[in-house]
Amino acid sequence: MIQSIKNIYYNIVKYKFLLQQLVMRDFKVKYKRSVLGILWSVLYPLLMMMVMAIVFSNMFKFSMEGVNYLVYLMTGLVVFNYFSEATNNAMGAIIGNSTLINKVYIPKYIFPVAKCIFVGINFVLSLLPLLLIIIFSGNAAEGTKCYINIYYLLLPFIYLCMFMFVVGVGYILATVAVFLRDMIYIWGIMITILNYFTPIFYSITILPESLQTIFKLNPLYIYINATREIILNSTPPSPLYLLICFLSGFGMLVIGAFIFKKKQNKFIYYL
């Protein structure tokens, strides 16, 4: 297992330029024909968030005592959207590059990672609108104002853990999808289920005690919860919680890489 991680690392260093080119290709192809181009990477999440915000806080009247609901919602949404989009892209990475894989030898590891980085750049850009919302959030009297604080320095670490987790899941999905194309549809449904089972627009406290324990095991919730601690409460997550963040991300990466490595020589017969 350690060997397979080493292997990926070695390949990523060796094929850094290829990785960069693959990510750039995705960007160029995505925005080639659009007038606003790369601006969509910021505009799209911003507009989507506005729609969600209006729906949940004005129509459904969701709100939380002493918490800025808009920021609460956004911190959950950006993480979940990243997970959803990156895993979907990574799942198609091997199938989508089948002509290339059939013709030239390239380490196949690189394709799902390239997709996760590509979506990851969009994720980082979508943090800009979130930052704007934080700056102009709520009022201090009601306790709904969010302050930019020193613990923001922990955010890159948490998001890195999330990235590892997503790459791990991406490896598993890419592998399964090669052998079973139906996975693309199955995953679409699973994502929707997961969307409702992750406390994004509701608080975990509305659930019964017993369910809460299970929901807290969801790694996505762990990442979201850690970022909310920092952004909403201006308190750092405990070292233990950060360790859990790391272990869940790293563990998933190891499992994903192991499964991918085990099956990758068979891909060619199914592409």
Binding site: F17, Q21, K28, I101, V104, Y105, F179
Partner: protein, 246 residues
Amino acid sequence: MIRINNVGMRFNLGIEKDNSLKMVFIRLFDKRKRIKKSEFWALKNVTFNVEKGDVVGLIGSNGAGKSTLLKVVSGVMKPTEGSVEVDGVISPMIELGAGFDGDLTARENIYLNGAILGYSKEFLDSKFDEIVEFSELKEFLDVPVKNFSSGMVAKLAFSISTIVDPEILIVDEILSVGDIKFQEKSKNKMLSMIKGGTTVLYVSHSLESIKELCNKVVWLEHGKVIMMGDTKEVCEAYYDKQLKNN
């Protein structure tokens, strides 16, 4: 340089491509169906060595296993049996333009395809003009490749993959691309690479170009080596066999 030891390559026809949920469940629960799969050996007991500087031609009818052999040598496929040992850097020209993205321009594709072939950015920067000049596509540099004719795509791809002097060059029937002028130019490029000591594995249906370029020929039929050795002898035997069949 390249040691091909008793290589066998097995495909399961039909079943491998049928990945619907239904078939997966059938295969999971019905053991009988699993046995019924039809096996096909694209290569069987193929053994030969290629020394440094050799130019080896591969001949044989369609479906003889030539392209599969090239894929095994270049590492795209792992052989079911046997082993392939390769010393040196391989530049595969198995199918020209496989790494192109139609939506990107020629300029962008030069970098993308170069990266796929394992070149560095600095190297591509320094060789960019040379690639463009050889491809004769200077005025189409900023046109998306999907608008190119197949000849233009092939020219561009050939120019990119031959910009290095690779230790081993794998060529699958590509000298027939482009117009006569470009064919001549690409053949000369190949000849100069061969003179420079590049080892070449060359697949072609044109016996003339095989005779012109190769010093050794391997004749494959139904995945097995029928004959190998001196270019002239093998080509003649192959030619006679083809005539007899007609």
